[in-house]
Symmetry: D2
Subunit: 92 residues, 4 copies
């Protein structure tokens, strides 16, 4: 991952960590349940963006390298991994 | 898609269509709400399997062809599509 | 469920069944994979609306009755069911 | 929320915050993309458990109080909130 992408990703993760701290405070302060749940759902959405960004980078580096390479086993492994990430993300 | 995979996919879709018919009957017969919701969630899980199967086939055909090809625009389009399918499936 | 809501729900389900038929045709006709996946995701979103509508009706009938009733076991069962529907819908 | 539940919830949130720190370190250390994505998905699953626990508590306190109360507007508001939490959690 290039330095710019990495910096961006780390900033997002720091912001998410701050968001979690905020939720801890809400729980400590007896905030209204539904408001806490909404904040947790917002964190989950932010984590989806993190995953989207990592996946995009992965597709443009490792996946391209593997598919262009001569190692059929490695290629299969890579495609299998992608299918499994998709399945996990979609599972009800 | 090869004939075997296509036949398998069509069988799954037929079975899902039958499942939907079953839910219609449950609604008509005033079945218990939570039982209907469970059946609908089972249909959604079955549709996830359909999508997983199609994606797997897609990765092993179009995506490999595009990534190995010389057309950089087509390759970018293909990877962008994959990222967007993932994002849609993961969206909260 | 009152007649109007039931009719509305059955119409939605019929439309979803038609949508599934459309996906079967796409598979038979070798439509582009990503287009098929998008249609399947649209069907899943439509099924979410169906579940939302049924849940809303359930909350306004059975749940109110159970919570107002004197049967503590029945009330617990009902609340446990709600929590489990939520968990299933949210599971990654 | 009683003290025991609150303590338990705060422990979970602390553990999730630690998990996020771990993901930051993976990004800094250039860990393999798919391994990072798996960790992020595990965090999202842990957050689902947090939400499930808060919802369960909410159902057993505020919702019971509102449904048993005489304020029809408040009751409607409460049920509407529940339906909307469900919808957000299920949205594709």
């Amino acid at each position: 991952m290039d330095t710019k992408k990495k910096t961006d990703l780390l900033l997002r993760l720091k912001s998410i960590a701050g968001h979690i701290k905020g939720v801890e405070k809400m729980v400590t302060d007896d905030a209204y349940c539904i408001d806490i749940i909404s904040q947790v759902q917002a964190i989950q959405a932010a984590l989806n963006k993190v995953n989207g960004q990592i996946l995009d980078d992965h597709l443009h580096s490792c996946v391209i390298t593997a598919i262009r390479g001569d190692d059929a086993t490695e290629r299969e492994r890579m495609l299998g991994e992608l299918a499994s990430v998709f399945e996990k993300s979609a599972k009800l």
